[in-house]
């Protein structure tokens, strides 16, 4: 699969985004992200996680710099996982808040198609959010099936 195709699929509206980290003792942590974007064809990405629910994730990346970001379409099950090192963690800026709001709205629309009421998805805490800047080192196809786990990049 070409990088362009991966970019188009992984960064489109309505994707569910998960973040995984691990501490120095090997204890993993995870949290749900509220938005994902990349301006350079996934050479780097910015993933947004709610401040309220990402304490362990942020603590881990501060010490290990390692992060995994999974993005999956709830209906099609098309999924990718990006792994890399964290370059920066900062609070999401005011100008990013509308993007987060937009993406959460699109995610709610997709989930509404499969029966989860919009009001429930929209009730997910998404502000304030941390922006985690990641240098992507590997991309994996994670779509369920025999090719799940195959490295794309």
């Amino acid at each position: 699969m070409s990088t362009d195709r991966v970019r188009d699929l992984a960064l489109r509206d309505g994707m569910s985004v998960l973040v995984g980290t691990v501490d120095r003792a090997g204890v993993p942590a995870c949290c749900r992200a509220v938005a994902l974007q990349s301006d350079d064809d996934l050479a780097t990405l910015t993933v947004y996680v709610p401040v309220a629910t990402s304490r362990d994730v942020i603590a881990n990346v501060a010490s290990t710099k390692r992060v995994a970001v999974s993005t999956s379409h709830p209906i099609e099950n098309v999924s990718f996982q990006m792994k890399g090192s964290v370059r920066e963690v900062r609070l999401a800026r005011d100008d990013e808040a509308s993007f987060i709001e937009y993406r959460l709205g699109k995610f709610a629309e997709v989930l509404a198609e499969i029966g989860l009421p919009r009001r429930i998805t929209r009730s997910v805490n998404h502000s304030p959010a941390f922006a985690i800047e990641v240098a992507v080192e590997q991309i994996f196809d994670q779509t369920p099936g025999p090719k799940a786990g195959v490295a794309i990049q």
Partner: protein, 463 residues
């Protein structure tokens, strides 16, 4: 107070996929969705391993896991801190988890390809609600059975038992059971399929809540949700059927070149299903299936409870078959017994007078034992052969009354020598006639005896 698995049981119904994070020995994390986390007991959970993927490889290098699960009613998230203990490739846990995957694989045409490799078992170290996950803390929505609910469930069990014990025949037993499931459990779409040892297929003999009854619809053992339950003799509860099928289809799309999908019987937009094998020991009697548009319709407690109900139904059906067989005399007919049905010739003449001008054309296809009426499929196999025998007896001699005994003695019908399920085959035939040509009826007239009533002219064609 710490959170227990029992406190968050809704999270494990598989309605919202869970998140699982692992790490390899070098400290590289991995995060992915899993469709369902299974509760093993109050201190352990299990995940299904379908592919030898990164999560599975990581567990061998680092047993620590963080999982996030979601309450499908409130959407509150909970984190489970886990330690991997072992992989089970046989045993009750494995079999229970495998039947669901096999059922979905069967429906999506991936039987034998998409299958459970192992049930990975984890110790639960700690459970914590994800504070601040929702802007507004969720209202407490309790799903445990209320005292009132429990009372009505006990009443329901009593009611089902009574219906089974008092049923005069198999037809009233089946109708009574489906009525009780609707009244006491709110299961408004249900069906009972009986297993035919000769054909290795299940045939719908009773249903409730469907616009068109579906009586006569068949499923092969091992095929689809119902066929898989019959094959594995294990109860199956699915809470987000559509999502499971989408997941299966995603794998099918990636793998390519699979067998065609098996259409699901019943509701086209069912979101949840509960399928219970009806068996006595190892002997399969049939399957009871319930489905609903509500993904949370069937809870964990329904499983244990309805297994009891299922056992009672199986025993009731079997008792009916035994009663019917024990009253039947398998000796050849005597002059006396043929005299029993002689008056029927007269009634045939009478009924001919009442017939309107409508004509029904019944066509029997010898190659596949199918009977069509006016060009539409009616019935096949043993019930088809029975109908053909009755119609031919009527045409040649004008008979309209028949006995179960003579059917049992007719070796051309292909009834098995023991546990022949004749009564259920006659119910199936009667209901199919009611639906497809109500002017041709089979009416019970006494125990083990029934009449063929013709309200139209009949033409018989054999091909």
């Amino acid at each position: 107070m710490s959170t227990r698995l029992a406190d968050i049981s809704r999270c494990f119904q598989g309605v919202i996929p869970s998140m699982v994070a692992t790490s390899d020995r070098n400290g590289t994390p991995n995060v992915t969705y899993v469709s369902q986390v299974y509760v093993v007991d109050e201190g352990h959970v299990a995940l299904s391993c379908q592919f030898f993927n990164k999560t599975r490889r990581n567990l061998d290098e680092n047993p620590r896991v963080c999982a996030e699960v979601y309450d499908p009613v409130t959407f509150q998230a909970y984190r489970l801190h886990l330690r991997f203990l072992r992989s089970e490739k046989t045993g009750p846990l494995f079999e229970t988890m495998a039947v669901r995957i096999e059922a979905i694989a069967s429906v999506t045409g991936m039987k034998g390809i998409f299958k459970l490799i192992a049930a990975d078992v984890f110790e639960v170290l700690r459970i914590e609600p994800v504070e601040g996950f929702l802007d507004t803390p969720p209202a407490d929505a309790c799903d445990s059975v209320s005292v009132d609910g429990l009372r009505s469930e006990i009443r329901g069990l009593q009611y089902v038992s009574e219906k089974i014990n008092r049923a005069a025949d198999l037809e009233s037993l089946l109708d009574g059971v489906l009525d009780a499931l609707d009244t006491y459990f709110g299961f408004s779409q249900t069906m009972v399929l009986l297993y035919d040892e000769c054909t290795k297929r299940l045939t719908t003999i009773a249903s409730r809540g469907y616009g068109e009854s579906g009586v006569g619809a068949e499923v092969a053992t091992g095929e689809g949700l119902i066929g898989t339950v019959a094959c594995e003799r294990r109860l199956l509860r699915i809470s987000r059927l559509e999502a499971e099928l989408r997941y299966g289809r995603a794998i099918r799309r990636e793998a390519g070149g699979m067998a065609p999908e098996v259409p699901l019987p019943g509701l086209p937009d069912a979101q949840s299903a509960l399928v219970i094998p009806l068996s006595i020991g190892d002997r399969l009697i049939g399957v009871l299936a319930a489905e609903d548009r509500d993904p949370l319709r069937f809870g964990e407690w329904h499983e244990a409870y309805l297994e009891v109900v299922g056992n009672q139904i199986a025993l009731g059906i079997d008792r009916m078959a035994d009663d019917d067989s024990s009253t039947a005399d398998r000796r050849p007919p005597t002059a006396d017994s043929t005299r029993d049905v002689a008056p029927a010739v007269e009634s045939a003449v009478e009924s001919a007078v009442d017939r309107d001008t409508r004509k029904r054309t019944f066509t029997f296809y010898r190659n596949d034992d199918c009977v069509f009426v006016d060009g539409d499929y009616l019935i096949r196999n043993v019930p088809g052969r029975i109908l053909w025998k009755l119609l031919n007896e009527w045409r040649s001699g004008g008979r309209t009354e028949f006995t179960n005994r003579e059917l049992r003695l007719d070796t051309n019908l292909g009834l098995p020598p023991v546990k022949d399920n004749l009564e259920s085959r006659l119910i199936l035939l009667r209901r199919r006639l009611d639906e497809k040509c109500p002017d041709v009826r089979l009416e019970p007239v006494a125990r083990g005896r029934f009449a063929l009533r013709l309200g139209s002219a009949v033409e018989l064609v054999e091909r």
